[in-house]
């Protein structure tokens, strides 16, 4: 019995110490350890995914590596999903999150964002030749991914176009959305257009993007709340990458005209003089 109480007391003490060890500015920690931990997705083609050789590649992976290189630290790539990326940042499991996250005001309450490093918008992917405008999707079934902004965008769009009860089905993964589209369970799949491009490129000629962008999806790099040193560093690094052309090189590697996922670069990232 006595031993039990001692143990309990010891456990409480350990916890108390652990709590004090938890605090500390992220930027200083990165520079001290010379390691930056970056959260990256694993199943977003061509953002970040495992290729046929089981290597972890993609646009986000290259951006993350470039940032680490320019900060002069080593990179520790941590796999995240749309479920875990925020929790990880808040708890300090990762220092930054490069995982196609749309910058939203209500999300800014929980974490910070860098300047926009990728410009995307939402579109509809549907079987070729079946639909011509967004209006055609009224009353149709649309697949979306849970935990993303696309779900609400689709609902709002369909409501605006006159659909009283939009039939939106949400899945856990991108692959499941695409599978649902392939088997005809849904008439369209809606999310950020680059993701749609990545998937439709796997079965060329069968699917097409329909209509215009109906939402802006500015991607930001997720950062821990209230660490302005880190935020400045990441922002400046992104702007430097843009200035010396590295950004374009990485962009063209994944989204250029010679790739399966051609997506012309039309906007400029925010540049501070």
């Amino acid at each position: 019995m006595k031993r039990f109480m001692t143990l309990a007391l010891a456990a409480a003490l350990v916890m108390a110490f652990a709590a004090t060890a938890f605090a500390g500015a992220t930027y200083d920690k990165i520079m001290k350890d010379k390691v930056i931990r970056v959260g990256i997705m694993t199943d977003s083609i061509p953002g970040a995914f495992y290729n046929a050789k089981k290597e972890w590649v993609g646009f986000d992976v290259d951006i993350a590596n470039e940032i680490a290189k320019r900060m002069g630290v080593k990179i520790d790539q941590v796999p995240v999903s749309n479920k875990t990326r925020i929790g990880f940042l808040q708890q300090g499991r990762i220092d930054i999150s490069v995982s196609n996250m749309t910058h939203k005001r209500s999300r800014d309450n929980s974490i910070d964002f860098s300047i926009t490093y990728f410009f995307d918008g939402q579109k509809m992917l549907a079987p070729k030749g079946k639909f011509s405008t967004l209006k055609d999707f009224v009353g149709k079934r649309v697949a979306v991914m849970q935990g993303t902004t696309s779900e609400l965008n689709v609902k709002n769009l369909l409501k605006e176009l006159g659909d009283a009860a939009p039939k939106v089905i949400s899945y856990q993964k991108e692959s499941e959305c695409f599978q649902a589209l392939q088997m005809g369970r849904v008439d369209a799949w809606s999310t950020d257009s680059t993701i749609l491009l990545g998937y439709s490129a796997q079965v060329p000629g069968k699917y097409e993007l329909v209509g215009d962008f109906f939402s802006n999806e500015p991607y930001g790099i997720g950062l821990v709340e209230d660490d302005s040193k880190l935020r400045d560093t990441v922002n400046f690094t992104l702007q430097d990458m843009w200035k010396d052309g590295t950004y374009e090189k990485i962009y063209n590697k994944w989204y250029g005209p010679d790739t399966k996922y051609y997506f012309p670069l039309t906007e400029k990232i925010e540049m501070w003089p």
Binding site: F22, Q91, L152
Partner: protein, 593 residues
């Protein structure tokens, strides 16, 4: 000195209150969570989205309840059917039921749901597929899939219950002139159901918790709703807590109902009935009364027509005709069954023969060990993943949780409140929640509490361990309580201390009884490793999904291979369990119908 005080109940309560008080003080005021709590997301209108997000939880709860009810009904129906099928003397029925039960019991529900939802419609003709898709196919697939999964467990419970009926009763009923059908409905089933109710009840409970997996096929149930709120506001702690509380209250409600049913079914003389029994009888009276009335009327009508041993010619002819008819019908039924079975086997073989085996051959290595040993240096176990990862996870979880279960289970049988209350709390809290919730909790809160970050592999393994521990504790408790109390009294009276008696007398006997149940739990935990995919552990299901994601057009091949891999492992374990059961059972006779 201390020991004497600790035996007093008020001291035990005082200690517990102090510990709770300290914990509340520490986590309420001292500890820094590094997280801004904002409970208003649950009840205030969210400005970005223009709705009260807590409402989603209510709709989700609604769906959870309806899925659970419908799938329970399906499961009970199919469970009775296949449970009896496993006792049939007509061998094809027996083999078919056995295959059904073994297959659905030994593959993870997650994989089954993926199959029903994503793969099955592709094998159906266009017309039927479109008809299905015009219905609410998500709900349909989830409910039926869940029902079929649970039915395989219920079938086993029912089979075991029926087989536990002594042979003498059966012989007596046959010799008193009852037909096999009458024996079944009047003697076997009523008795068996009394024995079956407790394990069947826990299957209902599991069924409700498993309904949380319906979210993977896009059903917006409770777990989905909490994830949705998290995704929209990034307030995961609040949403998960709300869902946990709801799940816990649902579980407790179901457990309460089951206790009432148990009381109702107990055969206790009227004068010995406790308040609980009386309450249960009062509560179930409205349900029971119509049946009782019907039975009474039926008896009254039947009594008039008495069977005579001296049959008239017409009666004899009629009887002979009926006997012949039933024989013919029986033959027709058997033939139909065989034809259906043959068709089923043929279509399964035909389907498999059209597989692209090259895909399986190319990727089997990936499914088995991912990219071991060519992984990055900071990857756990040199980039191991897939099936071997699942096995490692379950082996760790099994070996550690066994000791947790043993300790907590003993604590649960202790009279000392200091051990009893925390053990009970642990068991009820964990068992009242779906595993997926436990995984989320461990995953998000171990880092907050300890300040150390765990690899997803470790947090999933810890979650599995904690989860299995609670279930094993219940098995240990029932094993200990099943022993006659005289054993313990005798041991203590010979001068052994509590721990000596436990270690040398009680546990060896109890463990022997518990072995089949424990192995069953081990199988369950191996299947449940598939749930670790929600936090991105590279186990078999996750790897399979990644493959499917990349290859795109071979879902049948991949999911069948995955189901097959899970099945082999689980089935081997259940073979061991069956051998143990046979070896340990005192009665070798098995009832056949």
């Amino acid at each position: 000195m201390i020991n004497r005080y600790l035996e007093k109940t008020w001291v035990q309560y005082l200690c517990l209150t102090t510990v709770v008080g300290l914990l509340v003080y520490y986590f309420g005021w001292v500890f820094d969570f590094g997280y801004k709590f904002d409970w208003s997301v649950l009840y205030k209108e969210d400005p970005s989205y223009g709705e009260v997000l807590g409402g989603m939880l209510v709709t989700g709860l609604n769906l959870t309840v309806s899925i659970s009810l419908m799938s329970s009904a399906i499961a009970l129906g199919l469970g009775i059917l296949f449970g009896l099928g496993r006792l049939s003397q007509f061998k094809p029925v027996y083999y078919f039921s056995t295959c059904y039960v073994e297959f659905f019991r030994n593959t993870p529900l997650l994989v089954q749901l993926f199959f029903w939802y994503f793969a099955l419609p592709m094998g159906l003709p266009e017309g039927i597929r479109n008809f299905l898709f015009d219905q609410n196919f998500e709900m349909l697939a989830a409910t039926v899939g869940l029902g079929i999964y649970t039915s395989s467990f219920m079938a086993e419970v029912i089979r075991a219950g029926i087989q536990s009926i002594p042979k003498g009763l059966l012989e007596a009923s046959y010799s008193s002139g009852l037909t096999p059908f009458q024996t079944l409905t009047k003697i076997v089933l009523p008795l068996a159901f009394r024995a079956i109710i407790p394990p069947l009840g826990s299957e209902f409970l599991n069924n409700m918790k498993n309904s949380s997996l319906a979210m993977v096929v896009g059903v917006p149930e409770l777990c989905w709703a909490s994830q949705q709120i998290e995704g929209m506001t990034f307030k995961g702690f609040e949403a998960t807590t709300a869902a946990t509380v709801i799940y816990l209250s649902l579980s407790l409600t179901i457990a309460g109902i089951l206790t009432l049913v148990n009381w109702k079914l107990q055969i206790v003389p009227v004068k010995d009935r406790t308040m609980g029994h009386k309450f249960a009888h009062l509560l179930f009276w409205p349900f029971e009364a119509p049946f009782a009335f019907l039975a009474k009327m039926h008896r009254r009508m039947k009594r008039k027509r008495q069977d005579d041993f001296n049959l008239s010619r017409a009666q004899a002819a009629r009887k002979a005709f009926l006997a012949k008819l039933s024989k013919v019908l029986g033959f027709v039924w058997k033939a139909t069954f065989l034809v259906c079975l043959a068709f089923l086997i043929f279509s399964a073989v035909y389907g498999v023969s059209k597989f692209n085996f090259q895909v399986i051959r190319d990727n089997i290595g990936t499914l088995l060990w991912w990219r071991f040993p060519q992984g990055d240096p900071n990857e756990i176990l040199w980039g191991l993943g897939g099936l071997s990862f699942s096995i490692i996870m379950s082996v760790i979880a099994i070996s550690v949780s066994f000791f947790i279960g043993l300790i907590v289970g003993i604590g649960r049988t202790s009279k000392n409140k200091l051990f009893l209350i925390p053990s009970t709390l642990y068991i009820e809290l964990i068992r009242g929640n779906p595993l997926i919730m436990v995984i989320f909790w461990i995953y998000f809160f171990i880092p907050i509490l300890t300040g150390h970050f765990l690899n997803v592999f470790w947090s999933a393994t810890i979650a599995l361990t904690v989860f299995t521990g609670a279930y094993l504790a219940e098995i240990v408790r029932s094993g200990i309580q099943n022993l006659p109390p005289g054993q313990f009294e005798a041991a203590v009276s010979t001068g052994l201390t509590y721990w000596q008696a436990m270690r040398k007398i009680i546990l060896p006997q109890a463990l022997k009884q518990m072995l089949p149940a424990i192995v069953g739990q081990f199988i369950a935990i191996f299947k449940d490793t598939s749930l670790a995919f929600v936090i991105g552990v590279l186990e078999l299901t996750f790897v399979a999904q990644g493959l499917n994601n990349r290859l795109m057009i071979y879902p049948f091949e991949i999911y069948t291979t995955v189901a097959f891999l899970y099945f082999i492992c689980c089935y081997l374990m259940s073979l061991v369990a069956r051998r143990l059961e046979r070896k340990l059972s005192t009665e070798t006779f098995r009832l056949q119908m």
